[in-house]
């Protein structure tokens, strides 16, 4: 029977049934205090606020938003604990952090579910990426604690002292791990201020610190909003580490002017994902999708500017559009969901404003058709073609599931366009020719360059930006040095 027969066939459809991850084994308190000095304490001059699921707009748990007195208490607790923590032999500090890593692994499923509930990202991502990487970061930096001399070229190194760390809402637990693991391994004590909309996994991490018997005051978790963040930056800390928007990063850098406080910044990006005509095209399309739709595009290093060599632009764009239409947007707790909820109403508005600007500027917009839930904040994956380099959607960070497509003719033009940005966080290069991949990589002004892949992270590989994407690195031995004074 030939495949081109004409016998009438009922059209088959095979839909994936709902595959919800069950949260019934998750233990969340109704209300959390601030984690200061090894205990959960009531806020002194802060307030209580519900943390809401962006997929349902329902409250998940109540947390405290710290006031200035709370932040001061946390800094004091960290300061008190620091000398003893720093004096511990490295091998002892290491073992505390190994315990934390192991506990994250044991509680992995619970952490992943809470991350998805609180932040909106698909359970498949929190389960397979965020939580395992968080454990791996603690594991990796635990192993440095007694080998610091090898990370600083054999020179003498001392911890900074007390560090204030502010993390964003896109990878809440993972960013907490990126900050706390190296800081503590090096003998610093820390005050971590999670993002306003995603406090919960940091609070579970606080419980893990308790269970691991990490000495009181070594890690303090102070949930809150911009008030708490500003108070932390202004406080008596020896160093500040911030991951978030470039705008706030600049404010912090200005606020610390003249104070001799150490600073590392990991800020925004408008990273170029460059596809050459000799790329493995189908895999490049997959990489483009991973680059901009992973985590709803809430990724500082997202490949939001797609630069396609003109000779293959139509083919790549057509394949990309077909692939986008397979993306499943919906309940973050469904194991088959590819794109979850937008983290907040504010963020959704920012995305909508920029997308409207893109349409006004004359770019051609296509958004996939999908059923979006009634409640919650959602944005369907969108592609803009006919984008000019001067368009707002080619210049400004959207931080959503929106990709802007531009074309180029030559390698030199691709490099020029890619570098023509005040940002410099990441870039992607798709080509099957190794020498080209390395030549382009050498020319790009970006801190992380992915060749024939995108959005790959590992605790051993340094991550950070050029230009207004920030300075300082996280990951690898380079990730130690921001937390040490080397002499």
């Amino acid at each position: 029977m030939a495949a081109t027969d004409d016998t009438p066939r009922t059209r088959i459809t095979w839909d994936y049934a709902p595959a919800p991850e069950s949260p019934d084994h998750v233990r969340l308190r109704d209300s959390y205090g601030l984690f200061i000095g090894g205990e959960f304490v009531d806020p002194r001059d802060g307030r209580r606020v519900a943390s809401v699921s962006p997929a349902t707009e329902e409250p998940v748990a109540e947390v405290a938003f710290a006031g200035e007195a709370d932040v001061a208490a946390a800094v004091e607790a960290a300061r008190a604990a620091q000398p003893k923590w720093a004096k511990l032999p490295g091998r002892e500090r290491a073992k505390y952090l190994f315990r934390v890593a192991r506990l994250i692994q044991e509680r992995a499923r619970e952490l992943a579910i809470v991350e998805s509930m609180d932040g909106g990202k698909p359970i498949r991502e929190s389960r397979d990426v965020d939580v395992p990487l968080a454990a791996a970061h603690f594991f990796y930096y635990a192993g440095w604690a007694d080998k610091l001399q090898y990370g600083v070229g054999g020179r003498k190194a001392k911890p900074y002292g007390v560090v204030g760390q502010i993390v964003p809402w896109n990878f809440p637990l993972l960013m907490a791990a990126w900050k706390l693991a190296p800081a503590l391994a090096c003998g610093n004590t820390a005050i971590l201020k999670p993002a306003e909309t995603t406090p919960l996994t940091a609070l579970l991490l606080a419980e893990i610190f308790q269970e691991a018997e990490v000495p009181a005051g070594v890690a303090n978790i102070v949930t809150g909003d911009g008030v708490a963040g500003a108070a932390l930056v202004r406080s008596d800390v020896d160093k500040v580490a911030f991951t978030g928007s470039t705008a706030v990063g600049k404010d912090i850098q200005a606020a610390l002017a003249g104070r001799g406080v150490g600073l590392t910044l990991e800020l925004g990006g408008k990273s170029a994902n460059i596809v050459f005509e000799d790329a493995a095209i189908d895999q490049a399309v997959e990489g483009i999708v991973q680059g901009i739709f992973f985590n709803q595009g809430h990724v500082c290093c997202a490949g939001s500017r797609l630069l396609i060599q003109e000779s293959v632009a139509d083919e790549v764009t057509a394949k990309l559009w077909d692939r986008m239409r397979l993306l499943r947007v919906g309940d973050p707790l469904d194991k088959n969901t590819d794109v979850g909820a937008i983290n907040s109403a504010e963020q959704l508005e920012r995305i909508e404003v920029l997308v409207a600007a893109g349409e006004e500027e004359g770019a051609v917009r296509r958004t996939i058709a999908c059923d979006l839930p009634e409640r919650g904040w959602w944005f369907a994956p969108t592609i803009f073609t006919d984008v000019a380099p001067a368009h707002r959607i080619a210049v400004e960070e959207i931080f959503g599931p929106v990709v802007s497509v531009l074309t180029f003719r030559s390698q030199a033009e691709a490099i020029e366009k890619a570098n023509n940005s005040t940002y410099g966080l990441a870039a992607g290069i798709w080509t099957d020719k190794g020498s080209k991949a390395f030549e382009v990589a050498s020319a790009l002004k970006a801190g992380v360059i992915w060749q024939n892949t995108y959005n790959k992270f590992d605790p051993t590989a340094a991550f950070g930006g050029y230009k207004e994407s920030g300075f300082g690195r996280e990951g690898g031995p380079a990730g130690l040095r921001p937390y040490l004074r080397v002499s």
């Binding site: 594991f139 192993g143 020498s435 080209k436 051993t460």
Partner: protein, 275 residues
């Protein structure tokens, strides 16, 4: 009424299994007061041959695991040693042995950063150097301390991605043979560590003469044996390292880089930059 205990039959640990010596011979393990404590196998050259075969078979898959995975496995071995170690050694020696294992578990994913790197060659090439495991490492453990002395020599080899065939303490074999049971319950794959018990004068040269061995690490502290091992190594250009028995955590870790480097190869690769 006192209960009669069930005595352990001590075996060799080869290929992840507990086996008798193919020679059928045994020795009497004696306490410090010259009391007969237990019988232990007296391994032969053929046991060395079998252990080498197991180690070689396990070498490829062990090296192919990610560094992170090897680190996790070594950490779990430390967990197992901590929880079962009371019978193996005095608290101080045990604590040091566990901490040495943890120390080297933390080296697996840091070695390339420290021993390798990118070479800024004066030509348009990307050149990088990477450490790789040398393959199968032979270890001659010191008589004392029987547990820590062994762990100090095998942990670096494992962390660097090698598999190991070790000749354990001759005078005090029981801690190492019990340690084999600890490895047996951890996630260390069969064949990655092989422990042979017997007469050092027989086994060490047999191991050192095996043509498929890549490196020999000797902590026995016997100059004549050391010289013989060096001569045997010359037959196939084996890598050799001689060191004193590690009596403390510091002894085992201060020279970590030298221990690790002794059992790694450095591979340098070049690739043009330029389309």
């Amino acid at each position: 009424m006192t209960r009669l205990s069930v005595r352990k039959t001590y075996k060799l640990y080869v290929g992840g299994a507990f086996v008798r010596s193919e020679s059928g011979r045994y020795d009497r393990a004696m306490s410090g007061d010259d009391e007969h404590v237990a019988n232990v196998p007296r391994a032969s050259r053929k046991d060395v041959r079998d252990a080498m075969s197991a180690a070689r078979k396990a070498a490829g898959p062990w090296a192919a695991r990610t560094a992170y995975n090897r680190g996790q496995i070594l950490y779990r071995a430390a967990e197992a040693l901590e929880s079962r170690g009371d019978a193996l050694a005095e608290p101080e020696e045990l604590a040091a042995a566990v901490d040495v294992f943890v120390h080297y578990a933390g080296w697996t994913d840091k070695l390339p950063a420290v021993l390798g790197g990118v070479n800024p060659v004066a030509m348009p090439f990307l050149s990088f150097s990477l450490p790789e495991p040398t393959g199968v490492v032979g270890v001659v453990a010191p008589d004392e301390p029987p547990l820590l002395g062994l762990v100090a020599e095998i942990a670096p080899a494992l962390a660097a991605g090698n598999t190991v065939v070790a000749v354990i303490s001759e005078r005090w074999p029981l801690p190492a043979l019990d340690f084999a049971e600890v490895l047996g319950v951890s996630d260390v794959p069969g064949g990655v560590v092989n422990l042979l018990c017997g007469r050092r004068a027989e086994l060490a040269p047999a191991l050192g003469a095996h043509r498929d061995l890549n490196a020999i690490v000797d902590a026995a502290g016997d100059d004549e044996l050391a010289a013989e091992l060096d001569r045997l190594a010359a037959e196939t250009v084996k890598r050799t390292r001689h060191g004193a028995a590690a009596g403390s955590y510091e002894d085992a870790t201060d020279d970590a880089l030298a221990r690790l480097e002794a059992v790694t190869e450095l591979k340098t690769a070049w690739h043009p930059i330029g389309a």
